[in-house]
Amino acid sequence: MSTSAAPDAEAVDDFRREVRAWLAANFPPSLKGHPALLSGHDDLHGPPEDHARWKAAVAGKGWGVPTWPVEYGGAGLSEEQADVIAGEMERIGAFQPIMSMGLMMLGPTLLEFGNEEQKRRHLPPIARSETQWCQGFSEPGAGSDLASLRLRCEDRGDHWLLNGQKIWTSYAHHSDWCFLLARTDTSVKHRGISFLLVDMKTPGIEVRPIELINGISHFCEVFFSDVRVPKENLVGEVNGGWAIGKRLLQHERTGLSRLRGAKAHVLDLVPIARRYQETDADARLVDGDLRGRLAEHLMTDHAYRLTLERRRAETEAGAKPTTPVSTLKNIGAAMGQQRGELAVELIGLNSLGWAGDGYSAEELELTSQWLHSKCYSIYGGSHEIQNNITARHELGLPSD
């Protein structure tokens, strides 16, 4: 996305020194070791005022989206410089404080398909993490078959009129804006879809959170009743939204597979195993069956993280990555789900807690995560859809 030429080695060293100095001056030590953020809605640990200070500092430099052009809130840096920033943050136990669906999904899409006015209006607040976006793609009748969506969008001359429903809209109840796909032509399927940006405060929008099986909710149903959307909020051409939406989903898959990798570091099963299971004098699990299955999972997970690393290396080397994103998404989901299954098996009868003092907070959290992990293979393109993509597009197998 950046057009800067790659700086030479000396310039990189200079830049690294500059980054180090800036981080030393700006990263609040109280936040050291804070886990990577997976979304703009993650729980934050540590003093809130330090979080605010750290976020403002990074936003001020445009380092939340270092490769975005300066005029859209980025820092106009090269990929290599962005890597230096990320590497230096990791080195000192800092984390990227600016992360959101808008940043991960909408940003790159708008950079490619948005018009100048849309980019200038919407990207800088995303780069500063001031606006929260949600994704209005899925509908009750259109799950994996996304293109069968029906949210009606009529051209009323000076505005679009929306009627219908979206579902599985993450954090819709906390969002300022929504990017969505709507039907502008009912006579065709894929070629009758448009991509719109909708202010969530518009009259006629009703949001209802959906309670999930772990009792928690960040998904919502969103109902649209005669919602008026300004004409300039259409991205790309009328009926040209499907290609834009597909591209956005690629950004989502890439992001999700990367994030799941990050999450892997958060939950380490070995210490849990040591605390809840019997070990021998050499600290080995006595239960050889469980130990074997734990090892098998950790090995596959290790290879998964090496695959993310390899993909990054290939991309940096300018090569086409060998592992398809659809494959990565499925492996990542499987790893998260296996981890959840093993976690509840390791804590055994203590995994049966729903709430209350009878269980530790960690136990309740592990059980909740185990339940939540079941959606990894459903959302962001289900397991089945990813396998179809791999088979048809990567392996060149014929479609039915």
Binding site: I213, D289, N350
Partner: protein, 374 residues
């Protein structure tokens, strides 16, 4: 032993199926999450109806005041109750505690508790586990003689049906080995705290601190409880496996229905071969489990020497199958399966709780190997 159903068995099964569908569909389980019932962990009104139908006496011999219909029959009832995830102390109280009293209880103990268990007036719960791992051989709760009394000290968790229990059968370590004690829930020195479980059933942490029981509280001989406990647990495991089979079958049936009707890409998703083959694999799992469950129950009824191994087989397969089916139920339903509103999550949560009860699949794999001599 025969693994096919007799006519009488078919009648029992149909009666249970009808009752569960009408009186205790999954909405009854959802009601347990309301505050009024959350502490009890089951609906006493429904349990009274179950007792009324005689299910609480099915496995207790006629000579002891029960109906002596045997474990195969109990399994068929449990299987039907499993379909709608009915939560009740039936297996814990009537099958496990009942079996212990029948096998090892004194005349006084039997007289005091069996009629009440059979009538559904009292719940007797087994206080066995003490931590994350089910491991009867390593029970630590201490019981020692003080004069002619017994003093019990230690903590039991989770005690299934523990909040609703009128009495506990406590597994304790005494000098000679494992011993069992019959302890009223309101005995001095006994306190309990409810555990809120993912499957909404009742469980508790029960603490014994300076609890003194009379000599008559000891069940059977001191230090001699391991065999009785094992046999009673195997009966519970086999009937629980039947319940889990029923849950898995219902989850499977609902999923197949959904595959037939849910349309994506202009056809029912059940027309997609990848889903068809996974469904076929699940059917195989169900059929294997059904055979193991039937065989375990028949072996118990026949007093077969292999009953322990078959009980472990049934419980392990039921655990594996219910987990798989419940997980596929969520996956094949897609997003809707992740919502609390849909029943898929109820099956998934029950799968975890039921698998962990009285030994999970890995526990029984180890036990099966041990009993097979390798």
């Amino acid at each position: 032993m025969t693994l096919a159903l007799t006519e009488e068995q078919t009648m029992i099964r149909d009666a249970a199926a009808g009752w569960a569908a009408e009186r205790a569909p999954t909405t009854a389980l959802r009601a347990l999450r309301k505050d009024a019932l959350a502490a009890t962990g089951h609906d006493p009104a429904l349990y009274a109806e179950m007792a009324e139908m005689g299910w609480t006496g099915v496995t207790i011999p006629e000579a002891e005041g029960g109906f002596g219909m045997g474990f195969a029959a109990a399994g068929l009832i449990a299987e039907q109750l499993g379909r709608t995830l009915v939560g009740s102390p039936l297996i814990g109280s009537a099958v496990v505690a009942g079996s212990i009293l029948v096998m090892a209880g004194s005349a006084e103990q039997k007289a005091a508790w069996l009629p009440r268990i059979i009538a559904g007036d009292a719940v007797v719960a087994l206080a066995l586990d003490e931590g994350p791992r089910h491991d009867p051989a390593r029970v630590a709760l201490d019981a020692r003689r003080e004069g002619s009394d017994w003093a019990l000290d230690g903590v039991k968790r989770p005690v299934f049906d523990g909040t609703a229990a009128d009495a506990f059968i406590v597994v304790a370590r005494t000098r000679g080995g494992l011993s069992l004690f019959l302890c009223p829930a309101d005995a001095p020195g006994v306190s309990r705290a409810a555990l809120r479980q993912i499957d909404s059933r009742g469980a508790a942490i029960v603490t014994f601190a300076g609890c003194r029981l009379g000599a008559g509280a000891l069940i059977g001989a001191e230090g001699d409880a391991a065999t009785v406990l094992d046999r009673a647990l195997d009966r519970g495991r086999a009937v629980l496996a039947a319940e889990m089979l029923g849950s898995a079958q219902a989850a499977f049936d609902a999923t197949i229905d959904y595959l037939r009707t849910r349309v994506q890409f202009d056809k029912p998703i059940g027309a997609f071969q990848a889903l068809q083959h996974r469904a076929a694999d699940l059917l195989a799992e169900l059929e294997l489990t059904r055979s193991a469950v039937r065989a375990a129950l028949a072996a118990i009824d026949a007093g077969d020497a292999d009953e322990a191994r078959l009980a472990s087989l049934a419980k392990a397969l039921a655990g594996r199958t219910l987990r798989k089916v419940a997980q596929e139920m969520v996956q094949m339903h897609g997003g809707i399966g992740m919502t609390d509103e849909h029943d898929a999550g109820l099956y998934l949560k029950r799968a975890q709780a039921a698998d962990m009860t009285w030994g999970n699949a890995a526990f029984h794999r180890d036990r099966y190997a041990r009993l097979s001599g390798f």
